[in-house]
């Protein structure tokens, strides 16, 4: 993924009218700083801003540069590493040193693999780990950030994601099972983890084809339990794997409006805009 990578795809995306409705809503949401809140009128936040940038909105450089590294910025090096290296370098450096804490007394998975947590000083979870892997694998080389360090930490993330893959092929939020009970996967976590593993494979990391095939099949769970961000992420991941995203897009289209975007949320709307535009994430 990356702003540099979307280019003409966005202009000639397969669903320009619906994508335009998403962008109309995002324009309503943008704050004076150029950043984005989760919902119109609220305070701007890192996550919806980074997703909006990934969807092609301008990067609010000054606003982002003033923020301390945090989970909402984890994806930024993957999104804007090429266009804003000075802003992304400290975030990438933070991703290299940030480590989740191990958890004791777990069963059925390796809780010692150092992944990434939502907040410092807590355990690893699938989504932050997937974002870190995406940034470590997708961001172009940045001054002061060693390639070997990036590869090593990305390898940790890949190990963790493979370790946490559920029996149904997708990902729950953190664990594949708890207290002896197999957990069922969650569509949004599955979408992010699949995108991360595809990026890791493309960056040269060893990702078993079977794991990716099972993950790809599990994306269809988003059709059984549809939600706006789940459908958009399933579309992005299916397309990244070379598959056909139409089943997910067809479910999204009726729910996009210029007044409300996708569910009245800037973060979901940005994901839908990417899915509708055919952006490769």
């Amino acid at each position: 993924m990356g702003v540099s990578g979307r280019g003409s795809e966005a202009a000639g995306g397969p669903h320009p009218a619906a994508a335009g409705r998403c962008r109309a809503f995002l324009a309503q949401c943008r704050t004076a700083e150029g950043a984005f809140p989760y919902t119109p009128g609220a305070a701007p936040r890192p996550e919806p801003t980074v997703l909006a940038v990934a969807a092609g909105e301008p990067l609010p450089a000054a606003w982002i540069a003033a923020l301390p590294p945090q989970w909402g910025l984890m994806l930024l090096p993957a999104v804007a590493g090429a266009q804003a290296p000075a802003i992304c370098a400290p975030i990438l450096a933070w991703l290299l040193q940030s480590r989740s804490l191990p958890v004791e007394d777990v069963e059925g998975f390796d809780a010692t693999i150092p992944g990434w947590s939502w907040v410092e000083g807590t355990a690893a979870w699938v989504e932050p780990t997937a974002w870190a892997v995406l940034s470590l694998c997708r961001c172009p080389p940045l001054p002061g950030i060693g390639a070997a360090d990036r590869e090593a930490r990305a390898a940790h993330g890949v190990r963790l994601l493979l370790d946490r893959q559920c029996a149904d092929g997708g990902w729950n939020y953190g664990n594949p099972r708890v207290l002896g009970q197999e957990l069922v996967s969650a569509p949004a976590s599955t979408g992010w983890a699949t995108l991360a593993l595809i990026a890791a494979r493309q960056a040269g990391h060893a990702v078993p084809p079977d794991a990716l095939a099972r993950a790809d099949a599990a994306l269809d769970l988003a059709l059984a339990r549809p939600g706006l961000s789940s459908l958009a992420l399933a579309a992005l991941a299916r397309r990244a794997g070379g598959g056909e995203a139409a089943p997910f897009i067809d479910r999204l289209l009726p729910r996009i409006s210029p007044e409300e975007g996708a569910g009245g949320r800037a973060d979901w709307t940005a994901l839908c805009a990417m899915a509708l535009d055919g952006i490769f994430l």
Partner: protein
């Protein structure tokens, strides 16, 4: 003479021999919990909720002109598993508070794990119900995802977590009346999840991480009691029409219990609900911790009104067998 009077009569002599326990019991304010039998979600739920609220006249009088926030327990949707507060009951409560003259009735929840709140709303049926009731307006006009709401850091009066201040959603802090609407469930980390545990959803996950991870690391029970001390919800409506036993709060199995519980003292409501689940409330750490800071869990201090509610021993995971009454 009601059930409390009987209990007080029977317990008076016992109290004299209890020493420290008697002191502990007497430190708990007297509380009342109203129970109603309700066999199915197809019954007149608005009428049942109104009846439950009417059992607390002082509270009912506060509703007129107030901004009411309903805080249900919405987690994720799994076919055949009663994970969430039933949407029909949520809608009934919304309608009941409107009929009682509330200036505004909103619904807010910050689900623990799932970030796709849209999926929960639609797959649970709540979005359809709100839309049909004319309250949805295409953008959950009456629903706030508290996980991404603006927030304020609020000092915890007793600071059991050691965090000092906890972030709480502005929607919650701005309400005149917060109504906790939990599902009657067992919980594999906390023993049971009721009105107090339900307050986890008032904390924006964008601050503490999913699934409220910082709170888990600070101690679930500590966090539960701190949140109750901060928010002090005015009322609780417990959905026990269908409960969950075993590996709750998600992977457990349904219990057709047929009860609704109402009350102003949330620990008292939860203690009573726990007894109806066949649990000993004093062995649920968070409930025990509320004693002395305004919570009531002793049966000797709780007046139970309304219908006689059945007690069904809920199946427990082995590690929670100690909760069994």
């Amino acid at each position: 003479m009601n059930r409390r009077h009987l209990l007080l009569g029977a317990g008076a002599a016992a109290l004299t021999g209890l020493g420290a326990n008697a002191t502990s019991i007497l430190r708990q304010p007297e509380a009342r919990v109203h129970g109603l039998r309700c066999a199915a979600y197809t019954e007149d739920l608005v009428g049942r909720v109104r009846e439950g609220i009417a059992a607390f006249p002082a509270f009912a009088a506060r509703v007129r002109g107030a901004k009411v926030l309903l805080k249900p327990n919405l987690v994720e949707v799994h076919a055949g598993r009663p994970v969430n507060t039933e949407p029909r009951l949520i809608l009934a409560a919304l309608e009941a508070f409107r009929q009682l003259g509330a200036a505004e009735v909103a619904i807010g929840e910050g689900p623990g794990h799932s970030r796709d709140t849209d999926a929960i709303l639609w797959n649970s049926g709540l979005a359809d119900l709100l839309q049909a009731a004319g309250t949805h307006r295409g953008r959950y006009a009456r629903f706030t995802d508290l996980n991404v709401d603006d927030w304020a850091e609020v000092e915890a009066p007793h600071d059991f977590t050691g965090l000092g201040r906890l972030p709480v959603s502005r929607q919650v802090l701005g309400a005149d009346i917060v109504v906790s609407m939990p599902k009657l469930k067992t919980h594999h980390w906390a023993g049971a999840t009721l009105s107090l545990k339900n307050l986890f959803g008032t904390v924006p996950s964008q601050v503490v991480g999913w699934p409220k991870n910082r709170l888990h690391w600070a101690g679930i029970d500590n966090s539960i009691v701190d949140l109750w001390s901060i928010i002090r919800p005015a009322f609780s409506i417990v959905d026990g029409i269908t409960g969950m036993e075993g590996d709750g709060p998600i992977m457990g199995t349904a219990v057709d219990h047929g009860v609704l519980l109402f009350g102003e003292n949330l620990p008292a409501v939860d203690a009573t609900a726990a007894r109806r689940m066949g649990l000993r409330p004093g062995r649920i750490d968070s409930l025990r911790m509320t004693m002395g800071i305004g919570g009531t869990i002793s049966a000797l201090r709780i007046e139970e009104t309304g219908d006689a509610l059945p007690t069904i021993p809920y199946a427990l995971l082995p590690q929670w067998a100690r909760l069994r009454a």
